[in-house]
Symmetry: C2
Subunit: 215 residues, 2 copies
């Protein structure tokens, strides 16, 4: 289970709205309030709507029978989620949960397709989003399939650093994730992440400020 800290700026650059509010309104999308911990859909559910976060944060994840979680991704304001199942025509392969209280746009598939048809630029942006997600998955897959924990975490941190907004002047960024969350993203155990992070500090691959990771 995730620790409820604020993860709001993360995994994809902010202020990159796929679909603007005005278009949602034109196509009569619904803006739904979600409470913290609310499940939006579960593994196996059929995909009928397009979803985009307006406020808050959504996590997609799967649990294996032993209860271990693997995080597929975090989605922030302006970002859509669940499109693969919608456009690929299959049931959701994972769960979606609101990490915190917020608002989410829902647009039924037929209206969504019409919207794409009438807005080529958005359709192209959607392609871009899907492609970047494939890139992320390929990267993680490569790591998980053949590298040791140090390499895996290094790659994850590098990726995060590139996505996080950089404060001018400082060359290191603070990683806004707990070790448990990094474990869930890389398929490692929390103890392994803890030990590896310590080792990486000794090797000067990162700095620790209290428990916070500077990379």
């Amino acid at each position: 289970m995730a620790y409820p800290i604020d993860l709001s700026n993360f995994l994809v650059k902010r202020n990159k709205k796929l679909i603007p509010i005005q278009l949602f309104e034109q196509f009569k999308a619904r803006l739904v309030n979600v409470r913290k911990g609310q499940i939006l859909f579960e593994e196996g559910d059929p995909a009928r709507d397009f979803y985009q976060v307006e406020e808050g944060q959504v996590k997609m994840y799967i649990l294996n029978p032993e209860g271990q979680e693997f995080t597929q991704g975090f989605f922030n304001p302006g970002e859509s989620f669940g499109e693969p199942a919608l456009l690929g025509g299959f049931n959701y392969p994972s769960n979606a949960m609101a990490v915190q209280k917020g608002k989410v746009w829902r647009l039924p598939k037929p209206e969504f397709l019409q919207l794409l048809k009438e807005n080529f630029d958005i359709h192209i942006k959607l392609n871009e989003v899907l492609c970047k997600r494939l890139q992320y998955k390929s990267m993680i897959l490569t790591e998980v399939s053949s590298y040791d924990p140090g390499h895996r975490l290094n790659t994850l941190l590098k990726y995060l650093k590139a996505k996080l907004p950089k404060k001018t002047g400082e060359e290191k960024v603070m990683i806004p994730f707990t070790r448990q969350q990094m474990a869930d993203m890389t398929g490692l155990r929390v103890e392994t992440v803890i030990r590896t992070i310590k080792k990486m500090e000794k090797e000067n691959k990162l700095k620790l400020q209290g428990h916070k990771i500077l990379f």
Copy 2:
């Protein structure tokens, strides 16, 4: 290195052409001859063209520094490849090699975008392809990150079985892959695949006919 057996019917249903020849001709795409083993692009190359297999088979893969291969996918006639980098705007994260002699369509990005703009149905089909590829990656990622070899191979075989053309009447299909190739697809070692396949036979999860796997 891959063993040059015929893998022609595999991983995605056949006869599903994304873009028909007539459209390629209309947009003045080039039909390029490729020889067996030819590299079409390599990790790090910028993505400038859209590719679709006309004849033969293309493999995308990465090699880690120790030389171990991880297969990202096989692409058969009618299937496109390399679109993520093209549409996501990043360099190729992996290599593409012709597994056998064949022909490949190449269409520069600007013309490709124009084609999509004028053909909404193809744009939607492209989305579907990308989404299914995401589905496959998520599946493999889930397996690799938290399951044992038996579970991983079972999932891979289940997936393959669903994609392979089924002969009516028979409930088992023959898996057209070597153990090395299955290892490259699941991130396992060939010895582990061999041992696990044998164990699965004892557990009646599959049948062996000589060395061929019936699932």
